[in-house]
């Protein structure tokens, strides 16, 4: 009985790891809906297992990014002050907020990320970096950086601005991460890319690195208060570690566009299901 459940969860983790790597979304977005809607696991334990999965994904992926010299360690560390405090607040809120509300939040999040994917499908955003004037915080905190643009064959030096705005957004991303057991990668990228005007590539790499530390903050809360069930979290973590490794390898050989098109309706469906469950329409 327990053996079967463990093997099934390992398979779920494997699937989530591969899909997460290919689609560029954290495994957490896939794991919580599958555990709660399909397997009927209590959302509290689903969130606990999912936050472990986020750490597994982040630690695995960070290794790949470090080789690309894309990440900005100073930006990561400074903004982590906001994300970790947010994550602890989120983890504490999970115990207080009614479960129905958690389901609704999660449903909305899934709907938001499917529209995000639709935008990515249609968008051919101009990737050329537009230099910005740094604000006083950026200069004081030494947040400028540079990275190698492989396609354009040149080094791009960049500045950041609106550091307080980015910091505030990161606090929000931390709350969402702790509350729902997700990596909040999309929100972190918004904070750096849209608000602070950091180029997209270093933003994504830095966000990936930050996810693990953010998740560690809420995971320790969950670990010691009993929200992490070993027979659920362990097979998922192992599955996702393997899946993410495989996913990153095969990513280059797969038509990510097609996979995205297949996955968007699934995300939409899960989003609606979670929201309906939250409102008590379905059980």
């Amino acid at each position: 009985m327990i053996v079967q459940q463990v093997l099934l969860l390992a398979a779920v983790g494997l699937f989530a790891g591969v899909m997460g790597a290919i689609l560029g979304i954290g495994g957490g977005m896939i794991i919580t809906p599958v555990l709660t809607i399909m397997m009927g696991i209590d959302i509290k334990y689903a969130i606990g297992a999912s936050i472990i999965a986020v750490i597994a994904t982040s630690s695995g992926a960070t290794i790949a990014y470090i080789k690309d010299d894309l990440l900005n360690l100073r930006v990561a560390m400074f903004l982590e002050i906001a994300t970790t405090v947010g994550a602890i607040s989120g983890a504490l809120l999970t115990g207080v907020v009614p479960h129905g509300v958690l389901y609704v939040f999660f449903g909305l999040l899934l709907l938001y990320s499917s529209t995000n994917m639709i935008r990515k499908l249609r968008g051919t955003a101009d990737e050329r970096y537009q230099p910005v004037t740094p604000d006083k915080w950026s200069e004081k905190l030494n947040l400028n950086g540079s990275y190698r643009d492989i396609i354009a064959h040149q080094n791009v030096d960049y500045q950041v601005r609106n550091v307080p705005g980015g910091f505030a957004m990161m606090f929000g991303a931390g709350i969402a991460s702790g509350l729902l057991g997700i990596g909040s990668g999309a929100f972190k990228v918004i904070a750096m890319d849209t608000i602070m005007k950091m180029p997209l590539k270093p933003s994504s790499a830095t966000s990936n690195l930050m996810m693990g530390v953010t998740a560690a903050a809420s995971a320790t809360v969950y670990f010691f208060n009993g929200s992490i069930q070993p027979q659920i979290a362990a097979p998922l973590a192992i599955g996702i570690l393997l899946g993410a490794t495989v996913g990153t390898r095969i990513m280059q050989h797969l038509p990510s566009r097609v996979i995205r098109m297949i996955f968007i309706p699934i995300l939409l469906y899960m989003g609606v299901q979670m929201a309906l469950k939250g409102f008590g329409v379905i059980h």
């Binding site: 327990i2 470090i66 320790t220 010691f224 069930q229 070993p230």
Partner: protein, 122 residues
């Protein structure tokens, strides 16, 4: 500027290495625990009980209880990002970047506080 960049790249490579070791070690411990779970056919604890806290966890590991070994592995996995923060403090110290030693230490303190809060809330 170029020298600084090169130094940072070295530091980031070191951090990557540590993360990799942390992930591999925790994956091995978790897998061992799962294997024990399969072989023994039970968690080593009555009902759905889970060993919470260091004392219960290490006592369980010493008694070869599957759930305790798995929890230890999961804890090691949670520690890998924390370890990354610790190494970063060292890295900034090597660079004589006092401001970032302070900033990164604040992040570490927040992570320790998270542990205390979790412990208190069980």
């Amino acid at each position: 500027m170029a020298a600084r960049q090169k130094e940072m790249n070295e530091v980031e490579r070191l951090i990557g290495q540590i993360l990799r070791i942390g992930v591999v070690v925790s994956a091995i411990v978790i897998s061992l625990g799962l294997l024990m779970l399969f072989i023994q056919g039970g968690s080593g604890y009555p009902g759905n009980a889970v060993p919470l806290g260091f004392r219960a966890m290490f006592a369980g590991v010493a008694a070869f209880k599957p759930f305790a070994v798995i929890m230890l592995g999961l804890f090691l996995l949670i520690l890998t990002p924390v370890l990354r923060v610790v190494v970063s403090i060292y890295a900034f110290a090597v660079e004589h970047d006092t401001m970032y030693v302070v900033i990164t230490t604040i992040v570490l303190i927040i992570l320790v506080i998270a542990m205390v809060i979790g412990y208190a809330g069980k």
